[in-house]
């Protein structure tokens, strides 16, 4: 896993270098610094020519310090380091809720919001998916079973964000039942925590519904096919032959053995949830990293886009790592 993270970092570094993006980023940082230094120097040095010379000297010094005088490939270690510590300077377009314009500050503030939305949706959809998937697996070939594979096909082909737009059209515009976006009612002055929580839930409903619909189909389908394939394993027949009660066969033989492959699928499904959430956030103007991404693209905020690409990859890799540890716990075959 660590190797993967390094691989991603090096890849990103190379891309940023080759395309000249790193030059733009670094010159931005240099200019920012020079502006501040120039203001300070202006107090001490009155002669404008002397001031300019001093600034120019400093500029050359900074360019050397940032290795801007060397070709891009010499800077890869530095780029990687900078991305890792999120030292990507400042955002041009956004301020954090507390007023900072540092990329790291802005992103850190928004991570909890994204996590709240994605985990709620993933939890609900995986639970429903597991239950329905199991249920339809016990009735292979029935009408319900065929209906489930149709549902999963639709869910797979559904552009999540488009569904979000339709949901807004129906629930926010036509029926006026839910707010069309945001996380809290603007100007809500009540500080009562229960009211605030209900307000949050009210805002959370539509985006979670959208993600849920997009995710649940594949959950049902995968659970179903995994359970069906395990039903056909020899050890299930052995369990029956042993005269064990059906309940025991279901829990200890069927479900327990389905858990590792279902988990594998969960690992793979994470990619879908994370990427689906980016656009869902943008559509619902949910103040998480996804809408930040959207706004950064609209305003061509390079530093922000770089940092977010890295953060998304990082979140993904970390989530996979956690799930993989879980897998080892669940399946004795991969223990060493």
């Amino acid at each position: 896993m660590i190797a993967v993270l390094y691989g991603v970092l090096i890849l990103t570094g190379v891309i940023i270098g080759v395309t000249g993006l790193s030059d733009i980023v670094l010159y931005n940082i240099v200019d920012e610094r020079l502006r501040i230094i120039k203001q300070q120097l202006a107090i001490k040095i009155k002669d404008p020519e002397q001031l300019n010379r001093a600034v120019e000297e400093l500029k050359q010094e900074l360019i050397r310090a940032y290795d801007l005088d060397k070709p891009w490939y010499a800077r890869i270690p530095r780029i990687i380091y900078q991305i890792m510590v999120l030292d990507l300077g400042t955002s041009r377009s956004t301020l954090s809720f507390s007023g900072s314009n540092k990329v790291a500050d802005i992103i850190l503030e928004r991570i909890p919001n994204t996590v709240l939305m994605v985990t709620t949706a993933v939890l609900i959809s995986s639970l429903v998916g597991l239950v329905v998937g199991l249920w339809s697996a016990t009735k292979v070939g029935s009408l319900l079973d065929r209906f489930t594979s149709l549902i999963s096909a639709i869910s797979y082909s559904l552009p999540t964000w488009w569904f979000g737009m339709v949901v807004i059209l129906v629930f926010a515009y036509e029926l006026r039942l839910f707010p069309s976006g945001g996380m809290t009612t603007p100007g809500l002055t009540i500080t009562d925590p229960i009211t605030r929580f209900l307000d949050l839930l009210w805002h959370l409903f539509l985006p979670v519904l959208t993600l849920f619909v997009a995710l649940v189909g594949s959950w049902i389908y995968v659970t179903r096919s995994i359970v069906i394939s395990i039903t056909k394993e020899d050890f299930i027949v052995v369990g029956r032959a042993k005269g064990l009660p059906e309940r025991v066969i279901r829990n200890r033989y069927l479900l327990r053995n389905s858990a590792p492959p279902i988990l594998t699928n969960m690992i793979l499904g994470l990619a879908g949830s994370i990427t689906g959430a980016i656009l869902t956030e943008a559509i619902f103007n949910w103040p998480g990293m996804g809408s930040l991404y959207y706004n950064a693209i609209l305003s061509a905020d390079i530093n922000m886009i770089l940092a977010l690409t890295y953060i998304y990859t990082l979140v993904y890799v970390v989530a996979r790592f956690i799930l993989e540890v879980l897998y080892v716990v669940l399946d004795p075959r991969v223990r060493y």
């Binding site: 020899d234 027949v237 042993k242 005269g243 327990r256 004795p332």
Partner: protein
């Protein structure tokens, strides 16, 4: 009195393309301490028969007729709960064909061996583990396999575990369905020796199902030869092996290599019939070297040719 009495058993698969008569009107019995060998090519219905004896025929298969009487109780008409609690594993247990996948991969061997004891008998966990340990030693394994997971064992070890598991409740009958097929020759010999030991030491009744007649010759007291869902020859091992009557049995025996024999190896031409649509008359007639007109018209009845040696063939 016999322990197991199977009468006119019929097991059909109801597929979309037609009814497959996998086991068609089969009768035999097993006495206390007897080893019955059931031989046949793949697709002859012998495995279905094995599953049928435990009423575990996978859908779309169904037992459509006949009786299976074990210790005086008919299990064909028995309700599922009673069958599960009082018959399965307790009276009839089974050693499965694909031993490699027959063990639950996520639990230790010990847990799986103890499981049936806990569910069928009122025994403490500690005692159950002690019995499991004993049984494991009986099948020639070290006690510490109880703590291991199936994937940590070799194929031969897994098959020994399977045998231990089948014997753990000391059932009256053990069905061994191709117990050595997936193993290499050396291990196969070891497992066969284990079966002989069990037969001798425990006086265990075994139904030994295999396509390999030479294995049956090693261990069985009686032999039933199946072809296309029917028993074509049934009798004492010595009689069947020394004086095979049915052309099919003769063909099978000729295809086994022998060290000392000068006879040429041969095989039976053709393939087993499609059981959705078996040939009219004797089901073996398209492949039979002695085929007569009557074979193409009518099914031969099963006849005693002397000394409880039964054959279904118009030649006799």
């Amino acid at each position: 009195m016999s322990l197991l009495d199977v009468k006119n058993l019929k097991i059909y698969y109801f597929t979309l393309k037609g009814v497959v008569r996998a086991v068609d009107d089969v009768s035999f019995n097993v006495r206390e301490g007897e080893v019955l060998g059931i031989a046949g090519e793949s697709g002859s219905g012998k495995s279905t028969l094995g599953y049928g004896l435990m009423r575990l025929v996978p859908p779309p298969g169904r037992i459509v007729g006949g009786n299976i009487v074990v210790s005086g109780r008919d299990i064909v008409s028995m309700d599922e709960g009673t069958l599960r609690r009082e018959i399965r594993w307790k009276v009839i247990s089974m050693i499965f064909q694909g031993a490699l996948n027959a063990l639950n991969p996520v639990y230790t061997i010990g847990k799986q061996l103890v499981e049936p004891i806990i569910f069928h008998e009122d025994v403490s966990l500690k005692e159950a583990y002690e019995r499991a340990a004993e049984m494991v030693k009986l099948v020639g394994l070290n006690e510490d396999v109880l703590r291991r997971y199936p994937h940590e064992l070799s194929g031969g070890m897994k098959q020994r575990v399977m045998i231990a598991m089948a014997l753990i409740l000391r059932p009256k009958i053990v069905i061994a369905d191709e117990p050595t097929t997936a193993l290499d020759v050396v291990i196969q010999a070891q497992i066969m020796n284990l079966f002989k030991k069990i037969k001798k030491e425990l006086n265990q009744s075994i139904i030994f199902i295999t396509h390999d007649l030479s294995l049956i010759a090693e261990i069985a007291d009686n032999v039933a030869v199946m072809y296309a869902g029917k028993i074509v020859e049934y009798g004492n091992s010595d009689n069947v092996f020394n004086t095979p009557k049915h052309p099919y049995t003769q063909g099978l025996l000729k295809s086994i290599p022998r060290l000392k024999s000068k006879e040429k190896l041969s095989w039976i031409p053709g393939t087993p019939p499609d059981l959705r649509n078996p040939p009219v008359g004797c089901r073996f007639h398209p492949r039979c070297p002695y085929v007569m007109d009557v074979c193409r018209r009518e099914e031969p009845p099963i006849k005693d040719v002397g000394g409880n040696h039964l054959v279904a063939c118009w030649l006799y």
